[in-house]
Assembly symmetry: C2
Homo-oligomer: 332 residues x 2
């Protein structure tokens, strides 16, 4: 019998997670019941939002359970099917990552076609990551052609797509912040008009230099000083789509920013938090538009790929530390 | 020649303003040029937003100038007209308060009809104050029937109207906070379902007790701990209309709240600052609806009236300290 290895949550982190919060557990490969599939996962996603699920707090998704496998986006190859329409060898997108083999109700799987796009793309640029960037920028923040856009964590999976989609949709100026010279370099290659390293000085000052006339849209992945700087830079009727606040996730004390929140009144700003699962109605339009950009070579998704289920915790910890360029994936 | 007395800004406050920041100046009554009116002001408004204009910072309205009269909403009786359609005795609403006589371009004045509503109403419930409440609640926050609404500074001019309009438009539950037992009592009389005194304990705890199932809409006049409490209480897809942050206006250090801002993501909250001058397109609809409520005795605006231009600074300082019930006005 083949062994199925999976990653369990061994303990809940207080502040920054450590390898000790995870446990590699060997178990047996499941057997499909009626209407079910067993898949061998080929690639899985690690995402910043998973940090929140490691806390035992009520949120929009239930917290991960202790001593049970984590979960998240993954692509698996069907190895056993007792569901109509699925046969061994089929590839499906589903929500049970962090394990080598997964047992799925067929209704919770979505078929992916490797002829249309590389398999990884369904977890990144054509998947939740891409839709997050697209919906947040265009629907939540309502970016219009000719506007100036600032995105934080811009070399990350979502951020790098936000900047590129902004340019493709006619933004006049796109500014990105990132955490290393190499990332800044990459952002320039991806077409960002200005990119800066937030280690080089106060974000507020660097943003003012990058967009002396202010910004219209801020896509927030960081919170804290980045959000404060954006509020200072936003022009009247500016909008911020709040996608993530990675600076807050591992803080044991909440960051004090933004101290300038009262500016939202006089500038009539809108700050709007969002979750991609509220924007499924845009998926079809998004996939069509993004597929076109991909075919034309106008949209790029960097990937940082780690090998082996045993390295999934390290991949996740690296993601939280910003060690990834683009989408962080684990190949199983 | 009649004397015209006016209030000048003598110095810019650092933190809480004091009487020394104001100066009563005697000057002469102006003379109308072509297309102009001279009015004798009968009543003027003092409003929290004026505090911001006392600072020398660029904002949505220019700062008050030093050694020049302050300005703001007022109603004056025409004493001299060189503009077609205006005759002595006409009453007009205009923006040059803080003085006994004002020289106006006729185009900047709006006629008010004392037969339709008491004169003061044009500065309060049927004026900017009422439209602020109406537009903020219904347009900015998009309140729908059946929702739960929380408003801070609820015994103030805007807040008391927000709560009442919420009930009139079908809110299931309206909660208000205020700063004294008498105000809390008044809110109950005005139809608020729950009212509490923010001195009685943490706003967060009192709000949780007042709305155990959370709130859908927050109308913010205070900022700081009130906004933090509201963010904690808002249900998924909740909206906050940010009208004012009086707790911030006189703070020499910005209040640290809200420390829980990251909740906007998972709950998909919208925080939106607004200024009433962006909602002029709602004025006609608002006046029609509010006039009906007033005629039917279903909408009430409390007034705190101070007499004499020399007492206008004291009225304004009292407003900032929350000494008013409802709209604070100065009768000249």
């Amino acid at each position: 019998m083949t062994v199925n290895r999976e990653i369990h949550l061994a303990s809940r982190p207080d502040g920054w997670p450590t390898p000790e919060n995870f446990r590699l557990v060997s178990t047996s490969v499941p057997t499909a019941g009626d209407g079910q599939l067993v898949v061998r996962n080929v690639v899985m996603s690690v995402d910043p939002y998973m940090r929140g699920r490691m806390n035992d707090v009520k949120s929009y998704v239930p917290p991960f359970r202790l001593d049970a496998p984590l979960d998240g986006g993954a692509i698996g190859e069907v190895v056993q099917s007792r569901a109509e329409g699925y046969a061994p060898g089929d590839l499906v997108l589903h929500g049970l990552g962090w394990r080598e083999y997964a047992l799925l109700d067929a209704g919770s799987a979505r078929r992916v076609d490797p002829a249309l796009a590389p398999v990884n793309a369904y977890l990144s640029v054509l998947g939740m990551t891409g839709l997050t960037a697209y919906a947040g920028l265009l629907e939540v923040a309502g970016m219009r052609a000719g506007e100036t856009v600032f995105v934080s964590a811009a070399a990350g999976a979502v951020g790098s797509l936000v900047g590129q989609i902004a340019k493709l949709r006619g933004a006049a100026r796109v500014v990105g912040s990132a955490g290393s010279p190499a990332k800044v370099e990459r952002l320039r290659a991806l077409g960002f008009d200005v990119a800066f390293d937030y280690h080089d000085g106060p974000v507020r000052d660097q943003l003012r230099a990058a967009a002396p006339n202010g910004i219209d849209v801020y896509f927030d992945n960081v919170g804290a000083d980045h959000l404060e700087a954006a509020i200072a830079a936003l022009r009247p009727h500016g909008r911020a789509a709040i996608c993530g606040m990675i600076a807050h996730y591992n803080a044991t004390e909440p960051p004090p920013a933004p101290r300038n929140l009262a500016l939202v009144i006089g500038k009539q700003l809108t700050l709007r938090g969002f979750l991609v699962n509220s924007y499924g109605h845009l998926r079809e339009q998004f996939v069509e538009e993004a597929s076109g950009w991909l075919r034309e070579g106008r949209l790029h998704q960097d990937e940082t790929v780690v090998d082996g289920i045993e390295n999934a915790p390290a991949a996740f910890l690296g993601l939280l530390r910003g060690e990834n360029l683009g989408k962080m994936l684990v190949r199983l």
